[in-house]
């Protein structure tokens, strides 16, 4: 596997810059992670990070809201600003020749947003509409509400916000939040594409060098107990969400955990798809995925099924999760490895996905992770190491959330 060069530099203000040079593409992409995600939302003001991300892009530096978006379109920059649990995330993709201009525009958004009060009402009604739309999409809602119950507060609160909290937010609280969290120390800028560290460092320094400070808030990690809950909804299907503990990305056993989840739900030959959809025809959609925070991880499972068959679906799902501890076939692990090999090689065709993953890796591990390293870690897995992991972290302590006409047992 040929290997792209990845280099990094840390600016004196604490911003880490990572650049992966991809000679085969014309594009470049960036992902800037700032430690101001929804977990930092002030108490009873969940939705602050999402509101802030939107507000920051409504006029910055010398440009009004309209001028800003016009400039991005003129330069052909596909950008967006969102909040995740841990970060405010600013992403953009463009032709490599326009990367410097893109970074200048985003420098304004991050360092010099206008945050005009006149825009605040529109920002908040956008947040509210987004939340109401989730209410109308039970498939999305079940996973949002599952996370809220399966991670200790505030780590599970939705980055999209909470309807009841919106009235507690004012222009002043959100502006204050901006000044508290949008800081360079600990921020990570991942860049990938037809550029080099040497070529982009001058513009990164020009744009972000004068940024100062640190987000000094720390959010403790409490505990929460497994629960089973049902939310009534008038619908054809019942939505089922199941969560149980796993390890975080930074854990030495992460790759074994990854393989365990892939045996359950990687590809159409995996167990959940085979047992629940192919053999029993219970669902159209079923999956499990590994969700990770910096020091905690969970397996999240989803199944959607007509209500009369919902109990059977949940029963089979739980049985399959537990059955993983009975044994894993060499062929199952081999398929996980084959799928990983393909997707790692193909990742080199996408500057956007490389930029995001460079930044994410640095956040979790504090170092560069090459595709080559990931490949070696996965190749080194054996059935025994995966099974040892499963025995150490069995599928138990389920948090279960269902949405539909009837509660399940």
């Amino acid at each position: 596997m040929s290997q792209n060069v990845v280099k990094h530099a840390t600016l004196p203000n604490g911003l880490t810059v990572l650049v992966e040079t991809m000679p085969a593409v014309q594009s470049a992409a960036f992902a800037l992670l700032v430690e101001g995600g929804s977990v930092y939302d002030p108490p009873q003001q969940n939705g602050t990070a999402t509101a802030l991300a939107d507000w920051m892009a409504r006029g910055a530096g010398d440009r009004s809201s309209r001028e800003l978006l016009a400039e991005l379109d003129r330069l052909g920059i596909q950008g967006n600003e969102t909040a995740s649990t841990q970060h405010l995330v600013f992403r953009g993709s463009c032709l490599a020749i326009n990367l410097a201009s893109a970074l200048r525009v985003y420098g304004d958004i991050v360092l010099r947003p206008h945050l005009e009060e006149a825009e605040f009402e529109a920002v908040m009604s956008g947040v509210e509409h987004g939340l109401l739309s989730i209410e109308d999409e039970p498939r999305q809602k079940v996973m949002v509400e599952l996370l809220r119950r399966s991670y200790p507060h505030p780590w599970g609160q939705p980055s999209e916000g909470t309807l009841a909290d919106l009235e507690n937010m004012t222009p002043e609280t959100v502006q204050e939040h901006y000044h508290q969290v949008v800081k360079p120390k600990g921020a990570i800028l991942g860049i990938a594409g037809n550029v080099t560290l040497e070529s982009v460092l001058p513009v990164v320094t020009e744009v972000f060098g004068g940024w100062t400070g640190a987000n000094t808030r720390t959010i403790p990690f409490g505990t929460c107990s497994p629960v089973q809950e049902h939310l009534d909804h008038e619908s054809a299907q019942t939505q089922i969400g199941v969560a149980y503990p796993a390890v975080a990305y930074s854990d030495p056993e992460y790759y074994a955990a990854w393989a365990a989840v892939n045996v359950l739900s990687g590809g159409m030959s995996s167990r959940l798809f085979t047992e629940i959809r192919e053999k029993r025809g219970l669902v159209y959609s079923v999956y499990a995925t590994l969700n990770t925070l910096k020091n905690r991880g969970q397996v999240l499972c989803y199944a959607g099924t007509t209500s009369e068959r919902a109990q059977e679906t949940l029963d089979v799902l739980r049985t399959e999760l537990v059955r993983l501890g009975d044994g894993i076939g060499q062929d199952e692990l081999d398929r996980c490895k084959a799928r990983a090999k393909s997707s790692l090689i193909m990742a080199q065709e996408s500057s956007g996905s490389r930029a995001a993953s460079l930044a994410r890796n640095w956040y979790h591990l504090g170092r560069i992770v090459t595709l080559q390293e990931v490949r070696q870690e996965i190749e080194a897995l054996t059935v025994q190491t995966v099974l040892d992991y499963v025995h150490k972290h069995p599928a138990e302590h389920f948090t279960i959330l269902t949405i539909g006409p009837q509660a399940l047992k």
Partner: protein, 408 residues
């Protein structure tokens, strides 16, 4: 990038755009059959058949199909629309022969009765899933109303009733009629060589039955209609509106694409500034959809029920202004740059090139490079947009609402 084309004796069209610098190779079979080629009695059969392909053949069981694709790490799937059914894979070049054999053979599945009965349950679940999504319900009903009396009005998934009643004999008959070599395009994009493509096509597709399907094109004649489907528990009202636009062979389709980006892209468009930026709606977008012999502008609006009518009126005023005065040079320039970036970024992956390569050949027997697309885009003028809206104005001919409202 190197383009190749040939037609096998049985009529299968083979097109390839090869690129030694790519890491992967993507290939797809584009079958010219979809909901519009069905009869009402077998509504949903194209999509159900697409699912049945993965249930395998005499040689490959259903479990084999899923297992083998995964053993080669293939990124594979299929999709069915109003006028095509597409089976595609993206793989590392060394696994092309094995995945090609599998992918090509499942276009002619065995259709075992027990598999058919089991998969019917999955399809009914899929229908149930979309029934719970207001935007899907609105799209289906809008297509049905707008193309009332025309084949394009038929739902891709079908209904619970039509799918429940479907027999495997009906599916076999439909398959025999539509899955013939002259009705299929094989497209390949990325890292492989032309001889490999030719050998694989000859080896695995030469025995496919010859023949072409004569699709009834017909001319849709939409008349203004409005319908609201009441879902009391919904928080927001979902609106979809449709109006006539250029067909898939009309050169004005590029202008139509630019027009809808200027007026209704998800950001920095007229609808965005008028409705989304000020927080009046959750989303307000306009897109251009092309079909054989038809085309539509689709307007999407999602927002608070109480301001739905005002928002519809706001959209009407925006459309009136564009129909009367056209768009500005500045808007056109921004939209061109926006679309150009999308074309270039998508084109960096073989999978992205495949959809353009296969789609163009199926619809128009036409090959277009990325540069061709960029040039055509650059050539569209303000006057072209004016000419377009004179013939195909932005309108709200058909309206469907899904949500708490029973009337606008």
């Amino acid at each position: 990038m190197q383009f190749h084309h040939t037609t096998l004796p049985n009529g299968l069209e083979v097109v390839a755009e090869l690129n030694d610098d790519a890491y992967s190779v993507a290939f797809g079979f584009y079958v010219k059959t979809g909901a519009r080629d069905e009869t009402t009695a077998v509504s949903g059969v194209s999509h159900f058949l697409e699912h049945m392909a993965f249930k395998g053949t005499e040689k490959f069981s259903a479990e084999d199909v899923n297992r083998i694709f995964d053993e080669y790490g293939a990124d594979y799937n299929a999709m069915t629309g109003e006028e095509s059914t597409i089976f595609y894979s993206s793989v590392l070049p060394e696994y092309l022969p094995q995945t090609f054999e599998l992918q090509s053979s499942i276009l002619f599945p065995t259709l075992r009765q027990d598999d058919f009965d089991m998969e019917k349950k999955v399809i009914l679940e899929e229908i149930g899933m979309y029934e719970d999504q207001p935007s899907s319900v609105a799209y289906d009903r809008a297509m049905q109303l707008h193309f009332d009396g025309h084949d394009l009005g038929r739902s891709v998934l079908g209904t619970s009733a039509s799918v429940s009643a479907l027999t495997s004999e009906q599916m076999r008959a439909y398959h025999a009629e539509h899955y013939r070599a002259g009705n299929i395009v094989l497209a390949v994009a990325g890292n492989t060589d032309w001889n490999t493509v030719l050998d694989l096509a000859k080896q695995h597709c030469s025995h496919w039955p010859a023949g072409v399907d004569a699709r009834q094109i017909g001319t849709p004649r939409p008349v203004a209609k409005t319908q609201y489907i009441v879902k009391d528990h919904c928080q927001q009202e979902q609106i979809i509106q449709m109006a006539s636009a250029p067909t898939c062979t009309d050169p004005r389709r590029y202008a139509a694409e630019l027009l809808t980006v200027i007026v209704g892209d998800d950001t920095n468009s007229r609808l965005y500034w008028e409705l989304v930026d000020p927080g009046l709606a959750e989303s307000a977008e306009c897109g251009y959809y092309e079909f054989e012999g038809a085309g539509t502008y689709l307007t999407f609006l999602n927002g608070p029920p109480e301001s739905t009518q005002e928002n519809i009126d706001r959209i009407a005023r925006i459309y009136d202004a564009v129909n009367s005065n056209g768009v500005t040079e500045d808007e056109l320039e921004q939209a061109k740059n926006k679309i150009a970036t999308r074309i270039v970024l998508r084109g960096e992956r073989p999978m992205g090139r495949l959809s353009s390569l296969g789609g163009n050949w199926l619809a128009r027997r036409e090959y277009r490079t990325i540069e061709d697309d960029l040039q055509t885009l650059r050539d569209v003028s303000i006057q072209d947009i004016r000419d377009l809206v004179r013939e195909y104005p932005l309108l709200q001919t058909t309206t469907v609402g899904v949500g708490p409202l029973s009337a606008p």
